[in-house]
């Protein structure tokens, strides 16, 4: 491929070994990320969003979690087969991460200073002084007042929003090319959320950092992401530019997601409709469409055959996997017609509702 993407994930499979059997956490996820692009990932809890991210940087919990297939390439360099030491050098400096809960993601017994400096010194041969200067710059950049004195503080002396700013500063400390932000604002107050998101967008834009933004908040995605992947049961089931996806969602699950959040844009008549049922148990290897049990649009075919991620209109042209012209794809045999999006459809009460 001539236009190599910054990050290419292909058919990623992750399994967890537990006492109850293997959990199929990620089942063949593929996506690309171009430089400077922001990819949103949406989906319910436990659908494999975070696991995918951890798998990319090789931080799956050991020894239970394992990448069992697929590849992850950063600038064409295969990451899944790297030695731990090589992977370590990638982490933090080329791919950085921000986690959901700023309250627990910072080490409570270490000063902010130590946590920032160790990040820098882990990858750069710099003096402690230089690292400290850099740390102050970073804190200033994320809007921490009195950075010099705040460096001496411990995490518990910061508010949640401030802590997340520190996390962002830490993640951007080495100017990584990819930033993975895993629900960065979920744990924050709504008023703070906006500030932090704003900061994040500003800093990534300034630096041209490609970002994967994971959230279950579609509202956030609408404002932040260039493209959106919707995940369900360890797989991407719909993908497209943010505009495409929000305007014409095709997969029944995406539709469900959109209908289950309040619309702030003043559109009336849209009642809040929860998606009935629960995501499937990932212990059993999935057969057929994983959304089958909860799907109002299901057909018999869905029960036995797994739908592939294909362009929504059955187009035959080349599939664009990144950028503003990305092809809108969905994994569904019986996509939702645009007309039905607003109204929804009741869940059929017959046959196989529980699996």
């Amino acid at each position: 491929m001539s236009d190599q993407h910054l990050l290419e994930v292909r058919d990623l499979v992750v399994r967890f070994r537990t006492h109850d059997g293997a959990v199929h956490a990620v089942n063949g996820v593929s996506f690309d990320l171009a430089a400077g692009e922001t990819l949103g990932v949406a989906g319910e809890s436990g659908c494999g969003k975070s696991v995918t991210n951890l798998a990319i940087v090789g931080l799956l919990p050991k020894p239970a979690g394992r990448v069992e297939g697929g590849s992850v390439k950063l600038d064409g360099r295969e990451l899944t087969t790297l030695k731990e030491e090589e992977l370590r050098q990638v982490r933090g400096s080329e791919i950085a991460m921000i986690f959901q809960d700023p309250m627990t993601s910072l080490n409570p017994v270490l000063r902010i200073e130590e946590q920032l400096i160790e990040t820098i010194q882990a990858h750069r041969e710099v003096t402690k002084e230089a690292a400290r200067t850099r740390a102050i710059e970073l804190l200033t950049a994320v809007g921490v007042a009195n950075p010099e004195s705040r460096l001496r503080s411990y995490p518990h002396e910061f508010s949640g929003g401030m802590r997340q700013r520190v996390m962002i500063a830490m993640a951007l400390a080495l100017e990584p090319r990819v930033l993975i932000a895993d629900e960065p604002t979920t744990a924050l107050d709504v008023t703070i959320q906006a500030q932090v998101l704003d900061l994040l967008r500003r800093l990534t834009e300034e630096r041209g950092t490609a970002t994967i933004l994971v959230t279950h908040d579609l509202g956030v995605l609408a404002g932040m992401a260039d493209r959106v992947n919707v995940m369900y049961a360890g797989a991407v089931i719909e993908s497209g530019t943010t505009d495409d996806l929000f305007a014409k969602p095709r997969h029944p699950y995406t539709v469900g997601l959109l209908r289950s959040i309040p619309r702030l844009d003043g559109e009336t008549g849209g009642k809040l409709v929860p998606i009935e049922g629960r995501p499937p148990d990932l212990v059993d290897a999935p057969v057929g469409c994983s959304f089958y049990a909860r799907c109002a649009w299901r057909t018999d075919r869905c029960a036995t055959e797994t739908p592939a991620l294909l362009p929504i209109d059955g187009g035959t042209g080349p599939i664009v996997t990144s950028g503003p012209t990305a092809t809108h794809v969905a994994a569904c045999f019986n996509p939702v017609a645009p007309a039905e999006v607003a109204e929804g459809r009741p869940l059929p009460r017959t046959g196989g509702a529980t699996r």
């Binding site: 933090g92 910072l106 080490n107 411990y154």
Partner: protein
């Protein structure tokens, strides 16, 4: 920090008062004449009269208690019934032995327990973990005196690797100045004797340290397993820190906290266990002394030893809490 210590000291006051009341009551609930309990066989009517006067046995209880408290605070902790030696002087000659023994046991327990716990946590669920858990179960289930007897028989008598009794080779005829032989021998420049003292310490330390070892192993394992799954450890890894840095700085700095608390609580168990260990290993310490005192109905010695041991326990726990606070900034600034 200073305020924290002061607050902890103030919190210890009611406990000390309660302890003094308990021990004050102890001698008075003993069957028979307190004069017999306190002066013993060699009592004379004059001595009894003097004692009554001194303790005010005819006064109301609260006044007697005040006297007891004043005496105790002024360092008068009573005297031995057997040889009339004042408690404190005799205690101080034996205390260094107990200090070395308990510290030896603690070093053994921490030095082996923490690495074992870390190893078990790293291999959690595996065969090594199972083995370590089994060993720690055994350690917590085997009484000090049974283990002591076994160690003496195996490593002392059969293999002749290590000495079985006492704190130092009696042939060395060494003049201890502080009574802490590890320090005394070093100061005297007697490296050979220092080694000898260490060799004498090994078996008793293992016997006494086995239960704390087992507990520390378990708590370290549990604590590391818990910390390993903390978000900040994932953060540390995601920053690309070396595994060693993650381990030492991020995991252990936090995992130490519960271990520290347990070490403090084990201080009491160590002092109690010293009583049995010293008996088994003919160790010249407070424990062996208090056993003799019990057999001889030397109540003032028993009473004051309990007081001092309780004080040590409180002080050690205060130190542990301060250490905990130093390790845990959240407490420090509260």
């Amino acid at each position: 920090m200073g305020r924290y210590i002061v607050r902890r000291l103030i919190a210890a006051i009611p406990v000390l008062i309660g302890l003094s009341i308990l021990l004050f009551a102890y001698i008075r609930i003993l069957p028979g004449d307190p004069c017999v309990a306190i002066l013993g066989q060699h009592r004379t009517p004059e001595a009894c009269a003097a004692l009554r006067e001194n303790l005010g046995l005819d006064l109301p209880l609260w006044e007697q208690y005040i006297r007891y408290l004043m005496n105790t605070l002024s360092g008068d902790l009573g005297a031995s019934v057997v040889n009339s030696q004042p408690f404190l002087a005799e205690f101080l000659t034996r205390f260094p032995g107990t200090v070395e023994l308990t510290i030896g046991a603690l070093i053994f327990a921490l030095g082996v327990g923490v690495p074992l716990g870390r190893l078990a946590a790293r291999k959690a669920g595996g065969r090594i973990d199972g083995l370590i858990t089994g060993v720690s179960l055994f350690g917590v289930s085997i009484p000090v005196f049974v283990l002591g007897l076994a160690l003496v028989a195996i490593f002392g008598v059969i293999l002749e690797w290590l000495p079985t009794q006492g704190r130092i080779d009696a042939r060395a005829r060494f003049d201890a100045t502080s009574g802490l032989l590890l320090i005394d021998t070093l100061f005297a420049g007697r490296l050979d004797l220092f080694v000898d003292v260490v060799r004498h310490l090994i078996l008793p330390s293992i016997a006494l340290g086995s239960i704390p070892l087992a507990i520390i192993t378990r708590i370290t394992r549990a604590s590391v397993i818990e910390v390993v799954n903390e978000d900040y450890v994932r953060t540390a890894r995601s920053k690309g820190l070396k595994e060693q840095t993650v381990d030492n700085r991020h995991i252990m700095r936090n995992a130490w906290l519960p271990v520290t608390t347990v070490v403090g609580l084990q201080a009491g168990a160590l002092l109690g266990g010293a009583v049995l260990t010293e008996t088994v290993f003919v160790w010249n310490g407070v424990g062996r002394w208090v056993v003799d005192a019990i057999q001889n109905r030397d109540y003032p010695i028993v009473q004051s030893t309990i007081l001092i041991f309780a004080l040590i326990f409180l002080v050690v726990n205060l130190l542990v809490d301060i250490g905990y606070a130093l390790l845990n900034p959240k407490i420090r600034y509260q």
